[in-house]
Every structure is written in structure tokens, then in C-alpha cells.
Symmetry: C2
Subunit: 149 residues, 2 copies
């Protein structure tokens, strides 16, 4: 299977320098585009939310297959693709955030869980048809997420 190559569309700018597992909900981030992409998000301000796809550049791709979420003993050992952890074969993060404002070269969002300097791969308007599901999660996943946003 061939490798896939992509070029980030821009970079996250915020005042978070270290990845944590709590209180991301109020973080304001600017996603600044490469200059040649100016205008590429025009119209995104007519949506209330968007999804940010970013590359977790401080977490190298892993060859590991299983682990306990956050290494916690009170969590079950699971395949990496049954988790949202940074540790995964391709460390892409996706998070649905609020759209705060759009200019030709920047999208400002609230609630992005990515540190300053994170490369951004794509931005998508949040469409309930693609994105909103009445989903159930196991009990450990509810415990894990307490206080994250």
C-alpha cells in the first residue's frame, strides 16, 4: 500500500504549549492558512461549528497495537483504534469546535484540543448528516472524558 503525502493547510496558534487531558473547552485558537490559500474558508462563518483535522506532530506514529487509555490501570486494555488517544498508526486528531470568526487567512475556533504550532490538514463545516449521531459509549469512556472539555 503506497504512502500518502499531504501538505498542511496551516497551523494552530493559541497559548497552549503542553498537551493536557482537561479544560480544552474554553481555549481559543487561530488556524492560520498558508498565504496561497487565502480565502479558502470564505463562507465557513455561516456554520456554527466545524471539524478540525490536525496532525499530532509531537506524537510519532506508533507500531504498538494495544494499550490502556492514558496508561490508567482502571481502564481496559484495547486496540488503539478503539481509543481516541494520540497514540495511533496515523496520529490525526479530529475535534468538532465552535466557529468564532473567519478572515481570508484565519479561522478562529473555540474548544480545539491542539497545542500551539500543530499542523492542520483540513477543516470541514459541521454537517449533522455526516457528523451527528446518537451514539453510545462504554462506561470506561465516559469516566475517561470527565473534565476534558
Amino acid at each position: 500500500m503506497d504512502d500518502i503525502r499531504m501538505r498542511p493547510i496551516g497551523t494552530v496558534h493559541n497559548d497552549v504549549t503542553e498537551a493536557t487531558d482537561e479544560a480544552w473547552g474554553k481555549v481559543i485558537s487561530d488556524i492560520r492558512f498558508r498565504p496561497e490559500l487565502a480565502g479558502v474558508a470564505d463562507g465557513l462563518e455561516t456554520f456554527t461549528h466545524c471539524i478540525v483535522l490536525y496532525w499530532m506532530h509531537q506524537t510519532p506514529p506508533t507500531a504498538e497495537l494495544r494499550r490502556r487509555p492514558r496508561g490508567r490501570k482502571d481502564m481496559p486494555e484495547l486496540g488503539l483504534l478503539a481509543q481516541r488517544a494520540r497514540h495511533r498508526p496515523n496520529p490525526i486528531g479530529i475535534t468538532a469546535v465552535e466557529v468564532v470568526g473567519v478572515t481570508p487567512d484565519t479561522v478562529r475556533v473555540r474548544g480545539l484540543d491542539a497545542i500551539d504550532g500543530t499542523p492542520v490538514l483540513d477543516l470541514k463545516p459541521y454537517y449533522p448528516e455526516f457528523d451527528r449521531r446518537d451514539a453510545a459509549v462504554p462506561e470506561w469512556a465516559r469516566r475517561l472524558m470527565e473534565g476534558y472539555f
Copy 2:
């Protein structure tokens, strides 16, 4: 900004050979992992839904910045990142789907809008905290999605 390189985790297998804009909701797809990743999704069956991140390999990355959704005259001209179209700087698709079943080398899902042979970059369990939002979309976006799933 450096290019990012990633290796697909697997491939979509289904009986859809041509991309369309309707009736994806009932499509059953198997995502088959590379052999060395066997077991990497163990536990995903305890979630009702997952998000599939895939590479739209038949749509090359575009340098275009704006277009009308599906080229339709009744749609506004917008930046590509204000759309869910295949045409985008990095043609990654993301869709929330139902988890039908998990084996060591395959995840079976319902409702994936990707054709047979599509490379898959990542799979994530659907977490309402990350993924579920009470989002509003503009009127044209509602019209555009009629019949898609």
C-alpha cells in the same frame, strides 16, 4: 511547512464502484487492515458508532480555492473549506458510521460514503464529547444533503 507522510491502515471493500451523491445510508463496507495491524481495533465493537477517515484517492488535491457545491447554479460560490466536497487541498473524507462488527483484521460498518478500494487513514470510536454538536447549517447545505444518506 513540511509535507506529512502517512501509510493507510487498510482499505474499504464494498460493492460501490462509482462515487455518487445519494443513498449511502444502507451501504455495508468492510475496512480490512494491513496484516501487521491485526487486533488494532479490538474493543471498537463496544461502541455503536465510529468515524472513518479515508483518502479520496480518485480526487487529486486541488489548488482551486472556491467553487459552487457540486457545480450547481442554485448553490453559492464558497471557499472549499466551507464545503464537504471531495475537492479540497487535502482530500480526506470523514464520516460517522454504524459499527456492525469487528474481527482482528476487519471492521464492518454501515453508511460509509466511500467507494471500493478507498485507502483508510484512521478509525476512531464516536465520542459524543468530541463529535456531537447541536450545530446549525445554512439553508443551501440542507438542500444539498437531501437523499445523500
